[in-house]
Symmetry: C2
């Protein structure tokens, strides 16, 4: 069960007043080095989390949770946004909270939007998504001791609460599915090296190959923008290879690249699922209606929204989370883009 | 130019105090029938809008605009949600406002959610969407004299500010495009009679036919759920008709039904765009990648979001809108699902 550590308990253990602990942790007063060390030791021993302080210090609850997300490019659709927002908003409403949605900004303006909402006391906490390595929002919110939770991970050494899809597990499932169908030359339509999500998915792909005793080849991995055009071009390159050497299957890190690859295969006169198998990742609503329908990986979006919001609300209540870092399993959806081969 | 009528001007004309006008309009005090009539006459003469009162009376601005939307069914995707929210949030932020997103409820609970946000002073106004005939939200917000704007229309006799896509113009364009390609037997995959949006689109379809001297036939119109399965089934029914009588083209009121019809046509051994032309409505991101790519109607989503929010912010500022009811033109996107015939 979750338990709650109060500021009073920290004060008692450190042998100082509640106000002193609060001020020291908020860096709003100077005390002796010795007192500060005693307080920090008490914080560590009791597992008191700093963002409780921000919570306690704020004079007025807003009952608002801030959320902003990266917009999709015009030829793509954010297939989980509707359900993710509805799920979070529903979980929030049950606790008397609402979502404050603010627009996405790039560069320095992104942090300014977060800082402004904190400084003007517009929200009690944030949900952040599209988290990448060394995400500056994590640094900002940790420095401000402001409550937040991420949908997504960052560098392993950064400690903060998150809920994320196990992308490695998803890509492992897709690759293993193709291996079980007899494929040995499985290419990957991947994201750039710098992508944190892409690295997780790459790990799953490589692990599935190695588990099956298949040594991945450099030429089988194409890294690009994650759109239809990139999938199309990369597949065309593979299709020019000699039949005995070219990939017999392609795993894509998202549906858009998979659909691009399918089109290239079809234009070359080959049949998707019979001559070359293709899998995606997302289960975008339209991909079940493609010819052939796309085998893909589905994320449990509603569940993620509920977990993200309930964990953040627990943090706002000063509750210690049993498991602040949660990975949820995606699901393999098998359709004909991979299984015509087997039939 | 927009002009603003103040409560003080109403009070002056009625010969009573500012407070009396305010209280009478908010029904928080009893005055003589004669005084009340004098006040109401002044309100009418000056064109003072009741929702200014709600604005003036509220002790505290929240700088929040409430928005809720109907979630898509699992096999569909709300293709405009991302851009619509980003656009509204951006326009709001520039004026110091933010979006408060709350979850969709059905039946009585829907109105309760709006009432609760008003009563707890959580928002200054609302954007409502998926507006239908006799929408109970319109009645509630008008009775509460609470500022709102709609993305969508309702009954013609209901007067409230809205921005809407001219669905009749969109469907006219699609139907006219097919007529110009030589089609005379053009079937429609439509929505139920009760759908307000569906009625607008039907008007455009019928007008285009009649303008070309084509008498629409009952059997050419199929009304259903607006999903893939319905489009598939309705097209299968048409495909069973004798070749000389069956529709040579199908206009769908959304992309999902168009994609279902395309699949039925392909499974029957015919070629979409050559044997039977198909058009959609939405320009969902994936439909450009179908085989063949889908001819469809695109809504100017970003522009709609900007207009909706800027109009609501003007209302909140007590500005009279030049044009409180705006129709924006959609755009015909021609692709091969209709034009292989012409080639």
């Amino acid at each position: 069960m979750a338990m709650r550590v109060t500021l009073k308990e920290v004060a008692k253990l450190a042998g100082v007043s509640y106000q002193t602990v609060s001020k020291v942790l908020n860096k709003s007063t100077q005390v002796s080095k010795e007192t500060e060390l005693r307080i920090m030791e008490a914080v560590r021993m009791l597992g008191y989390r700093p963002n409780q302080i921000a919570r306690n210090m704020r004079t007025q609850r807003t009952n608002m949770v801030g959320y902003s997300w990266e917009p999709s490019s015009p030829d793509q659709v954010n297939t989980i946004l509707d359900q993710f927002l509805q799920s979070m908003a529903q979980a929030a409403e049950q606790a008397g909270y609402h979502l404050l949605c603010f627009p996405h900004h790039s560069g320095d303006e992104m942090l300014a939007a977060y800082t402004d909402l904190i400084d003007t006391n517009r929200v009690d906490g944030f949900v952040i998504s599209s988290v990448d390595y060394d995400d500056p929002r994590v640094a900002l919110l940790q420095e401000r001791q402001f409550p937040f939770i991420a949908f997504g991970r960052s560098n392993p050494e950064l400690h903060f609460p998150y809920v994320d899809v196990d992308g490695a597990a998803g890509m492992y499932m897709a690759t293993e599915h193709l291996i079980n169908l007899g494929h040995r030359r499985i290419a990957a339509l991947a994201w750039p090296q710098a992508s944190r999500v892409g690295q997780n998915r790459m790990d799953g792909y490589l692990k599935a190959l190695r588990t099956a005793g298949i040594e991945p080849k450099e030429g089988w991995i194409a890294r690009g923008d994650g759109n239809y055009a990139f999938g199309f071009q990369a597949a065309q390159t593979w299709l020019k290879m000699p039949v005995a050497e070219r990939p017999s299957a392609i795993v894509a890190f998202n549906d858009a690249m998979a659909v691009g690859a399918m089109r290239a295969i079809q234009l070359s006169g080959l049949q998707v699922g019979r001559d070359i198998a293709v899998t995606g990742f997302d289960d975008a609503p339209m991909v079940q209606y493609l010819s052939p329908p796309l085998t893909t990986i589905r994320q449990p979006t509603w569940d993620i929204g509920q977990r993200v919001m309930s964990s953040l609300l627990a943090i706002l209540d000063g509750t210690l989370l049993d498991d602040p870092q949660v990975l949820v399993e995606p699901q393999l959806i098998i359709r004909q883009s991979s299984t015509l081969t087997a039939g």
